[in-house]
């Protein structure tokens, strides 16, 4: 190596040594560069490992967040089904209906406590008996409505309505259009008794599609949606669906607020065939006037819910009224 370095063999001893050492540092520089490069690689590997563990470590917190909402959803869903199931069982009076709902909520509390105990959570669900409000569950056939007439009262003096579903047979609906609907079609009328009415017409429109049109104060109605003919078509007035499709603007108050109490009537039922179901809350007392079958029911209930884990404390009060419109 010494032979290739210029000036190393010129016989000048001390000078030649110094020059040789200077040149020798090239190897050191090379190795230092290598060490820096390797250190950088090691740093990247370390960083990757720490990001990975951070990712794993933070995963648990999200899961715990979702759990409280899961408990809430489970409690609300079951209470809703409990109320509707109790109403469908047609309890003899309101105290029987209330007792059945209370008993159901107590059972739900026990179930949730057991189910979440093994996940390390403590749940508590309680229903305040005073928050369980009385209503009426009204069902019946559109044509055989007990009046022998084509017009019938569904419910008089109503403060709130939920779960209002009319199932119609498309074959029996009158064929017409929006302009002819006020004189020809089957309709549901909401009347607040102070010159404000809302009408929901159901008829066979263009192409025999089951069509729903909404009008106010007897004026020309507006078509909100239509669906191809099916076996039976459910018009969910409070839920805002026609058949399986969403139908915005179906609920009566979307055409403007309606005063309470209001009367609900089914008119021109000779132009339709099917069944109607609704749960209503009387404005006063615990009964409503109806030409159809009406039985004591629970309109809504409030439940107090708490969920606690080592890291989380969640408390809320939820009012449960399944199938209630937003407005």
């Amino acid at each position: 190596m010494a032979a290739v370095i210029p000036g190393a063999s010129d016989g000048d001893g001390p000078r030649g040594d110094r020059r040789f050492r200077d040149a020798d540092r090239g190897q050191l520089l090379l190795i230092s560069g290598l060490v820096v490069a390797v250190s950088l690689v090691a740093l990247v590997v370390l960083l990757n490992a720490s990001i990975y563990s951070e990712n794993v470590a933070t995963r648990g917190i999200e899961a715990a967040d979702g759990e409280a909402l899961e408990v809430r959803a489970a409690a609300v869903e079951e209470t809703g089904k409990l109320i509707d199931g109790t109403n469908r069982n047609r309890p003899a009076n309101h105290s029987e209906a209330t007792a059945a709902v209370e008993e159901g909520i107590a059972d739900l509390d026990e179930y949730l406590a057991r189910a979440y105990a093994d996940r390390g959570g403590v749940t508590r669900v309680s229903g305040d008996p005073s928050s369980i409000r009385a209503g009426r569950y009204v069902t019946g056939n559109l044509t055989a409505n007990g009046t022998g007439d084509s017009n019938a009262t569904l419910a008089d003096g109503v403060a709130q309505t939920r779960g209002f579903v009319v199932e119609v047979d498309p074959d029996e609906l009158a064929p017409t259009d929006a302009a002819g609907a006020p004189t020809d079609a089957f309709y549901i009328e909401f009347d607040d008794g102070v010159n404000e009415t809302r009408e929901v017409y159901v008829y066979n429109g263009t192409g025999d599609n089951v069509t729903v049109a909404v009008g106010q104060n007897g004026s020309a109605p507006t078509v909100v949606c239509s669906t191809p003919t099916a076996d039976r078509v459910a018009v969910d007035l409070t839920g805002g669906t026609l058949g399986d499709e969403r139908c915005p603007g179906l609920w009566a108050t979307s055409a403007g607020a309606l005063g309470a109490p209001y009367d609900v009537a089914i008119e021109r039922t000779d132009k339709a065939n099917g069944t109607v179901t609704a749960t209503v809350r009387p404005d006063s007392g615990d009964a409503v006037g109806s030409d159809l079958t009406s039985s004591p029911a629970v309109y809504d209930a409030e439940i107090d819910l708490s969920y606690r884990t080592a890291e989380l404390r969640f408390e809320t009060t939820v009012r449960v009224a399944p199938g209630e419109p937003d407005a």
Binding site: D17, V35, V45, A74, E78, L82, G85, T86
Partner: protein, 201 residues
């Protein structure tokens, strides 16, 4: 000083560099080669999170539009099976033939992701019935659960049994048996905990 003595420092440094290089190389190789869809790595963590979110959302939407309830009520009480054949009583190659099954197949089946759908029921959710079973999940499987409440007057959705209610089956007025017993008071029949286990094939 002879030039050869001077190079000892360089040799020491070289040795250190070589050692670090070997260790770093090994570490890097171990991490780099292990990145497959089934291995524990950052990219796979992402995959698991994604699959969990998809499974959760699938259950949530199916429960909201009633498909999930219809799927767990698709039970033939006479032959005691979910499928149209007696054995096995559960599906093994895809979802059940209804809206929930179609959603499962479209979400997971077409992307080569296997899934099991098991239903837990009974007083302490201790009993388990299989709806879909595609085998044993891998170590990197993720789960999602959703509880569906059934009422006593719920109708079965299996073909030919549409008019049979759970109440009629439990009080014996209709022939056959539902896979879950009436475990709740009042109008509620039982709470069914639907559990989806999802893993990459």
């Amino acid at each position: 000083m002879p030039p050869s003595e001077d190079r000892a420092q360089a040799h020491t440094l070289e040795a250190f560099a070589a050692a670090i290089l070997i260790v770093a190389g090994l570490t890097f190789a171990l991490q780099a080669t292990a990145v497959t869809p089934l291995s524990a790595s950052t990219s796979n963590q992402h995959l698991e999170n994604q699959q969990r979110a998809v499974a959760d959302d699938l259950l949530e939407t199916s429960a909201a539009n009633g498909d999930l309830e219809a799927a767990i009520l698709r039970w033939d009480p006479v032959n005691e099976t979910f499928t149209d054949s007696r054995s096995p009583s559960y599906f093994t190659s895809g979802g059940p033939p209804n809206a929930f099954g179609e959603a499962l197949n479209a979400t997971f089946g077409e992307r080569r992701i296997a899934f099991n759908v098991h239903i837990r029921h009974g007083p302490d959710n201790a009993d388990e019935t299989k709806l879909v079973d595609m085998g044993s999940p891998s170590d990197n499987a993720v789960t999602a659960t959703r509880t569906v409440v059934l009422t006593d007057d719920a109708n079965l959705t299996a073909p030919g049994h549409g008019n049979t209610t759970l109440r009629a089956l439990s009080n014996g007025s209709e022939p056959g048996e539902f896979y879950a017993a009436d475990a709740a008071v009042g109008a509620i029949y039982d709470r069914m905990e639907v559990r989806i286990v999802v893993w990459q094939l």
